[in-house]
C-alpha cells in the first residue's frame, strides 16, 4: 500500500467505523474525538485487516504512543514496509 492509500483507508475507518466527525490528520484523537483504550484495540484489529497480516505483540505495543492520524499513517507505513 502507498502512503496515500493508507491515509485514505484510515480516514475512512475513522469516519465510518469510529464515527468521528471531520477528523483532521493532526487532531489529538483522545482530546478531540474521545479515542480510548477500547478504540485503540479495535483500531489494531482494523489495521490487521487492512494489512492482511497479524501484528506481533511488540508491534502492537509500539502503537500505544501514537496520538494523531498522521502518526498512525507513519506507523502503518512502517508495518507495511516490513511485510512487502
Amino acid at each position: 500500500m502507498t502512503r496515500d492509500e493508507i491515509k485514505t483507508e484510515l480516514m475512512r475507518i475513522f469516519q465510518d467505523v469510529f464515527e468521528f466527525k471531520n477528523p483532521d490528520p493532526d487532531d489529538n484523537l483522545r482530546d478531540v474525538h474521545g479515542f480510548d483504550s477500547v478504540d485503540a484495540i479495535e483500531l489494531l484489529r482494523e489495521i490487521e485487516i487492512m494489512l492482511g497480516a497479524k501484528l506481533s505483540r511488540e508491534e502492537k505495543e509500539k502503537a500505544m504512543d501514537v496520538r494523531t492520524i498522521n502518526q498512525i499513517v507513519d506507523y502503518v507505513e512502517s508495518l507495511a514496509s516490513t511485510r512487502r
Binding site: D36, V38, E42
Partner: protein
Amino acid sequence: MERRVVVTGCSAITPIGRTKEEIIRHLVDGTSGVKQLRDDGLLSDHIHSGVFGTVDYPIEYDFKRTYRKTMGPVAFYACQVAKEILEGAGLSDDFITSGRLGVSFGSTHGSPSVQRGIYRSFFSNSKSEFSSIGAVDYLKSMVHTTAVNITKMFGITGRVISSSTACTTSSQSIGLGYEMVKYGMQDAMLCGGADEYDTTTVAVFDNLLACSTAFNDAPHLTPRPFDVRRDGLVVGEGAGAVLLEEYEFAKRRGANILCEVTGFSCNNSGGDLIFPNVDAITRTIRLGLQDAKISADEVDLVSAHATATKMGDVVEAQAIYNVYGNSPLITGLKSYMGHTMGSCGAIELIIALYMMEEGFVAPTLNLDKIDERCAMIRHATGIAECDIRIAAIQNFAFGGVNTSIIIKKI
C-alpha cells in the same frame, strides 16, 4: 440509621409493550406477548418448547458509538430503560456524577448472543477466526455488562452491584439497592435487570422438562400459572428498571414519588438447587413483612412468581397460604409475557405499581380451571377494581434464592 426509600422513576421493555398505557391495555384486554420461538439456526430445532415471550416491536436506540461499542443486545435493553429514567428524573448532572448515585443492575448471564460468537470462534479450526475475537467481546458479554454500560453512559460513579441470580436477578438488584439507600450508603440507586432473546436458556429449562411444550401452535395459551393444564414455563426477554431515592432527598428536590419500598427479604432454601422449598419460601415472605413492619393482612396484592411449572406453583401457593391465608388477591403476571428471567422481578414490580396507581388487579391469564392444590389462595380470575395500598412482589430462582419486595402507596 434507617431511611425511607421511594421509587421516583420506572421504565420497562416487555413482551406486552413499553409504555404504561400499552402494558395496561394488554392486561385489560388479556392479550399475551408470547409468540412462536424464532429459528436461531443453532438450537431451535432441538428444543421441544416452541414458544417465547418476545419483544417484537422496534426500539429506536439513539446511542453514540462511544457507548454502543461495548454493548451486546442485553446492554442495549438495560441502557435504554436507564436512559429513559434518568432523562425524566430531573436529577442534576452534579448529583449523577457525585458518587451518591449507584447502580444495581444485572442479567442472567450477560449477553449469550455475543458469547455464542466467541465460542464459535473458539471451536473453529480456522486460525484467523480464532484470532478475530474482538477485544470488546468480553465487555459486551460479561455478567456485569448491563451495570457498567449504564455507569459509562451517564458517568455514574457510585456503588455498583451486579446480581446474577437467574430469576431473582432484578428483584435482588432492587432489594439490594433499597438497602443501600435505606442504610445511608447511597442517596439514590438505579436498579433493575435485563435479558435478551436467547434460546440457550430455553434449552436449559427444556432439558429439565420445565418448559411448556403443549401449546406450540397456540402460544398465547401458555404459560398457565395455577391452571390444571399448565405444562411449564415460557422463557421471555425484556428489561425493567426503577430509580430508588431516599425519601427526604426526593421530597426536597420535588421528585415525582411513585411509591415507597418498605420491605425486602432474601434467603436461600439451603438445599436443592432446582426444586422450590415451601418452608424457605414461607420464611422469605415472613421476612419481607417483618422488614416492612407490617402484618400479613395489610397486604392487598401479591404478584406471585408463578412460572407455571407443575410443582413450583403448588409450592408457592402453599407458602402464600401459610402466611397470608386467602386474604390478598394473587396474580401471576408471567401469564402475559412468559418468564423474562433476569428482568422479571423489576417488570413485575413496575406492573404492580401501575395497577396500584390505576386501582385494579389484572387476573392471571389462562387460568381457566384452578388446580385444586393451588386453590386455597385468592386468585385474581377477572379484572378486579381494587384499592391497592400495599403489594408484595415475590420471585424465586434456581439455586434456591428467594426474594420478596414490599411496596406501599404514598
